[in-house]
Amino acid sequence: MFLNIFFNEIKYWFNRPAFYIYTIIFFLLSVFISAAAAGIFDFITLTTGSSKIVNSPFGIAGLFAAPASLLIFFYPSIIGSTISRDYESEIHTILYSYPFSKINYLTAKFLSGFFIVNLIILIIFLGTPLGLILPGTNQEIVNPFDLKSYLDAYYIVILPNLFLYSSIIFGVVTFTRNVYVGFVSVILIVIIEGLLQGLSSNPDNRFLAALLDPSGNSAVAYYTRYWTVSEQNELYLPLGKLLIYNRLIITSLGAIILFSIYKVFSFSQNAFTFSFSKKDSKRMIKNNFGGITKVNLPKITINFSFKNDLKKLWDLSNIDFLFIVKSWPFIIIVIISLLINLVGLFELGNVFGTPTYPRTWKMLQAGVTFTLFINICTFLYAGNLLHRSRLANVNQLIDTTPTPNWILLGSKFLAIIKMQLILVSLVMISGILFQIYNGYYDFEIGHYLYELIGLSMISYVIWALLAFLIQTLITDRYVGLFIMILLFIGIPLLGAAGLEQSIFKYNAGTGYAYSDMNGYGSSINRFFLYKIYWLSLGLVFYVLSYLFYFRGLPSSFKERIVLAKSRFKGKYPKFLGFFLLIFFSSGGYLYYETNVLNKRTTAKESELQTVEWEKKYKKYENYDQPRIVSVKVDVNIFPKTLDADASGTYVMVNKTSNLIDSLFLNHGNSISTFEFNKENDLVLEDTLYNFDIYKLKQALNPGDSINLFFTVKNKPNTTIRNNSSVVSNGTFFNNSAFPSFGYSGRELTDDKTSFWILWKRAYR
């Protein structure tokens, strides 16, 4: 009986395209991560390569654990769905009257899901070493394959967590019969993990964290925190006492949970639900007799004016909005994020131990913790709303009403925006509460509103537009959700693979920073331009969502394409053309401004340039140069145009006991002129490194002086780039604007950029 159910589940999974999609994605992900760590992208981005061996036992634990920890988001749809699909298909109404035992049923369901997850981990197991030996990787940092490293990583780091999390999610889904609640519990787990690891940053808590952290990372870190590079390269994972206890605690906890599930579960139970109203029961009989009723309906006016359509749009969006707000996943996510935000606020009071005022801009900065949650809610509920009527099987009633597609689509989108506004206002509310708590009353409500609604909302809307397109095209809301999370996490990572320009990465661009002195500064223009660029593409996506909106019962995707073509008439081609026009013109200007008007170097080019610099000019390092003894400068600052120019004179004296015949002049990237009062030849003018070499016709004797008259001004500003050090409320103008003499270091250091630094940089 057990084998029957077990193999049935396995067969079901092998028949699902989703399984192969997950497998391929995790395979590629693990190959990508290990290949990147081994330096395969060195030719387009910064060189990875330090003396750290990438696949040391310690390194494998990291490489292996990264995709495996992403896998936790799939546990609900793999482990949870083995049992939830019995409920969703309602086969449980037949199945639970059959003569098999609880233990067979539950263990078969659990182990089949567990098995599938381990299969995917096996795929990661195969992908990781493959990525390390791909052509193009740096074999100096790759050791030969060592099975024990992988097995250690699996048994020590991954398996106990897998077991505990699986048992939790299995229990949640079994009793609530709802995979979404399982998904929420995954988010809870991730948050608790994060909190526990955050705790361990405080040395006092490390012991406790090592013992209790379910991911085991704190326990491993407890022993490896101060390992040298060679220890990291050679030693196997330390089986310290705390690590063993932690793993035992976690595994036993998982076993206890499974045992409790077995004890509590009953085939005749109902789903576990919360109810806040008292249940009163009474006998119900329906009326079985009743003759002919006259059907005399009151008169109604049916109104299809545009004004009424807008009213309908608003009304329907309220209903969709209430659906979101009354659902448990949303409520839980709101509570959690509020808690985390408040905790974060209490942490940020101190700057190097000095208490500071809870200024509004600081409250807003702390609010960044909400970003992930707002986006997760957006991705989740875009899918929920778009697929809701089909999942509830009420689509046949709704789709035959005379409500046009743009209203049905629009009401859902509007509901998502209202949801985002509510979440964003939580930042303001928690900020204000915190300020009041600290006796600080300068709330700057306008500032809150401007940054939250004027600035951050644009980003959220841009992501929502993409989420809608994905969930419109893809009929499985879990696959759609997964793709959105993948894009959200993966697009910034492309920078580590060499794709640095923001115009090629959805919703990328420059950010904004607020200072009480300078406000948002002129960099905000660039931010807005990038947002206009991506917003216009997002609106193109919205038009596509309208064209492909799922209405009725199309029998194939081909039919949906035909339907989309038939919808593409009237004003929609005009909308599409308009948005595309904005997209390409703003994109064109951004490209031109970034690459043509101003020189842009990739990180790789920059690194190579630093190498060249050292190779070409290090020989001049120890040459004597005169010392500047007097500086007279006139500086003009133009606050309205954000320009500055200066002219001045250096008096320089040869304070050495040698003759000086060459002057090595460094100047910045500004437009400058230089004139010495002694005859000279300009021997070298390196415009890339802004390094000039002047040969004096007559060498400078010790004690002699020479004057340099220079002018300097910034390159012209563009609407989105400030090339000067002048800001609207002040300047950062200092002597670095003026020339200096001699070969200055600025060389590469030995600790080259490791892959993890690139990873962290991507999520800055």
């Binding site: 329906k286 009326n287 007799f289 009151p298 509830a392 046949q396 009633l397 005379p402 009725g552 019962l553």
Partner: protein, 295 residues
């Protein structure tokens, strides 16, 4: 007020040809669409109701080209599918309100009056505050009628509505349908022959995506006058009887003998008795002829 269907074809991606060059004209009143399971009834209903598009063919209702201009038909359409779900945690009141908004009834007061009247007609007033997801089958069908009537439709399509209803519910349902059917076109698909007999002034028999017979119920039984015979046989003699006679149906009697019902122009045997032709006979004869034509 007529519905003109011409050359409708639909093949699903699993190669099943659900509609096979189907043409039909339906006028005002109650029209019964009779056919066995898998005949294509639901596909036809859904196609008229603008939920599906056919591969070829056209549908016109009055002067609305249904396939091109779906919204215009939806304004005057009332549709009750074979099975439907509802959003959880919504009462009949709230859900009808939602559907009324979707159907374009913008005025709040008018909506409220209409909904209360509909709940009264469908006998749901007592339970209007309870969640529709907790309704019994009969109550849910009544709710289905209520949402159908919201926009006072000219074209009403109901797909197998009485399957699974108890006798009281079924009767009540048919009565309501009769009342609303006087001023609109009602297309009623079912495999329960009695429904058609009681209700419809015109009908068609559908199988394998084709219209096999389009006839008024009364005329169809008149055609069969003096051609239907019954006889009692023993169970063991059934196989030979099937070879000898054109048996339409066979039913067990209390004493385990079988009464067979036979179609024949002339009396097939001395122990046969003449029987009154019923609509079931028309149904079985039509299906059998089609089966014979295709074999």
């Amino acid at each position: 007020m007529s519905l003109i269907i011409e050359n409708l074809t639909k093949t699903y991606s699993n190669k099943v040809k659900a509609l096979d060059n189907l043409s039909l004209e339906i006028g005002k009143g109650m029209f019964g669409l009779l056919g066995p399971n898998g005949a294509g009834k639901s596909t036809l209903m859904r196609t008229i109701a603008t939920l599906q598009s056919p591969d070829t063919g056209s549908i016109k209702f009055n002067d609305i080209n249904v396939i091109e201009d779906q919204i215009s038909l939806r304004k005057i359409l009332g549709y009750l599918p074979q099975s439907f779900g509802v959003y959880p945690n919504m009462s009949a009141d709230e859900l009808l309100n939602y559907f009324a908004k979707l159907k374009g009834i913008s005025d709040k007061k008018e909506r409220k009056a209409l909904i209360n009247k509909l709940l009264e007609i469908t006998n749901l007033s007592d339970v209007k505050k309870k969640n529709v997801s907790g309704y019994s089958g009969g109550m849910k069908q009544r709710f289905g009628i209520a949402q159908l009537l919201l926009n006072n439709p000219e074209l009403i399509i109901v797909d197998e509505p009485t399957a699974g209803l108890d006798p009281a519910e079924r009767q009540r349902f048919l009565n309501v349908l009769r009342e609303v059917g006087t001023n609109s076109t009602v297309i009623f698909s079912t495999h329960i022959v009695d429904d058609v007999k009681e209700l419809c002034n015109d009908m068609a028999i559908l199988n394998g995506g084709k219209i096999l017979k389009h006839v008024k119920p009364l005329d169809s039984t008149n055609e069969l006058k003096n051609k239907i015979w019954t006889k009692s046989v023993l169970r063991d003699d059934l196989e030979s009887a099937e070879n000898e006679f054109n048996i339409l149906s066979s039913n067990y009697n209390v004493d385990n003998s079988l009464t067979i019902r036979v179609f024949s122009d002339k009396k097939p045997g001395t122990d046969f008795k003449k029987a009154e032709p019923q609509l079931d006979d028309v149904y079985f004869i039509t299906l059998k002829e089609d089966q014979n034509n295709n074999s």
